[in-house]
Amino acid sequence: MRERDDEWTGLMRSAIAGDSAAYHRLLKAVTPVLRAAARRGLARAGQPVDQSEDIVQDILLAVHLKRHTWDVSAPFAPWLFAIARNKLIDALRRRGRRIFVDIDDFAETLPGEMPAETASASEVAAQLQTLPARQRDVLQSIAVESASIKDTAARFSMSEGAVRVALHRGLTSLTAKLREQ
């Protein structure tokens, strides 16, 4: 656990310093832990665990948009689990259940019980369709067709700066829409 936490903290520091590959690796590394906790929360609330992927994506978006509230000199895991716990409680409440979510649900996930993604998420995909065309095109190009920012810019004859702005705005309004639903 300790080793894992240190690795996360190191990756996040690199990410903040501008290393996108480190950021990608970090998000990949935390996702199974978040998924396990989301499943456990859903199971305890008597909800079908196949909704866990929506919660995981909700948490990842919040992590992304709030990462400036992480103190670079502090360990990353407590911050991550605080965000995740908050989002999980919200998600369970929205499904009509009030449930106590323990922070240890996240911290104590063992590598052996980390499930792979089985069910697909639908909420982010559904909200994606409601975005302005430009933001949706950019997001889809980068997410689904895994095009780079440069390729996306060339494809829609936009500047790279405009692609970056559309990408960030798209993610922000996607998150806002998920919160309002």
Binding site: A15, L27, I83, S146
Partner: protein, 212 residues
């Protein structure tokens, strides 16, 4: 969109840098301040005998209390904007203005007074105080909440309440220069009621607005 695709998209957006919450809060407060200042100078204004009043330590004490409230409110707000933070270990900041006020009451008690205690407590401006402080603090509270939306508080209602405290502290600093009631007993009663009102509004609005 599957989760791998979302992760790829988030990583592509890594170059975007958000401003720290403190910066957003400062900008929002600077934008809101002129509104409150305008309200203050058109409706109330500084008391005419301010130069003489400044020689009265109890007049100055009002500013020590209200500024202490504003500063500790800002400090606690910024602390609570981090999701893993709680009031524990930080709540004592909020005791500073209360401590200064208590010391002031003690000091006044030990001095000979021309007016009886209840007269000083009730004062002449209690109604103005209770309406002016909340009114002046509303623009500031709106600014504070907008600034704090950049944060990620674990408990939005608590964070909103603290935003209410800081707004009331700033508004009361303005109001204190208008009010001719300088007794710490007056401050402890009416300023506190006005602050409690703003804090409640902050908690109610914050519980919705500060959710992330």
């Amino acid at each position: 969109m599957d989760t791998d695709q979302l992760i790829r998209t988030l990583a592509a957006d890594n170059s975007h840098r958000a401003r720290p919450v403190g910066f957003a809060l400062m900008l929002a407060l600077l934008a809101a301040a002129p509104v409150s200042l305008l309200m203050f100078f058109t409706e109330l204004g500084v008391r005419p005998d301010v130069m003489i009043a400044m020689r009265n330590p109890f007049f100055d004490l009002k500013f020590a209390v209200t500024l202490a409230l504003a500063i500790s409110g800002i400090a606690v707000s910024l602390h609570l904007s981090r999701p893993e933070a709680s009031l524990r270990g930080f709540g004592w900041w909020l005791l500073i203005p209360a401590g200064i006020l208590t010391a002031g009451i003690g000091g006044e008690m030990m001095m000979p007074q021309r007016l009886p205690m209840m007269t000083r407590l009730v004062g002449k401006n209690s109604w103005v105080c209770m309406t002016a402080i909340p009114a002046l603090s509303l623009p500031i509270l709106a600014g504070a909440l907008i600034g704090l939306r950049h944060g990620a508080p674990a408990r939005p209602a608590v964070a909103g309440a603290i935003a209410g405290l800081l707004s009331a502290g700033l508004a009361a600093t303005l109001y204190a220069s208008h009010c001719t009631d300088d007794s710490p007993l007056f401050v402890a009663t009416w300023y506190t009621i006005a602050t409690a009102l703003v804090t409640t509004i902050g908690a109610l609005v914050g519980s919705r607005l500060l959710k992330f």
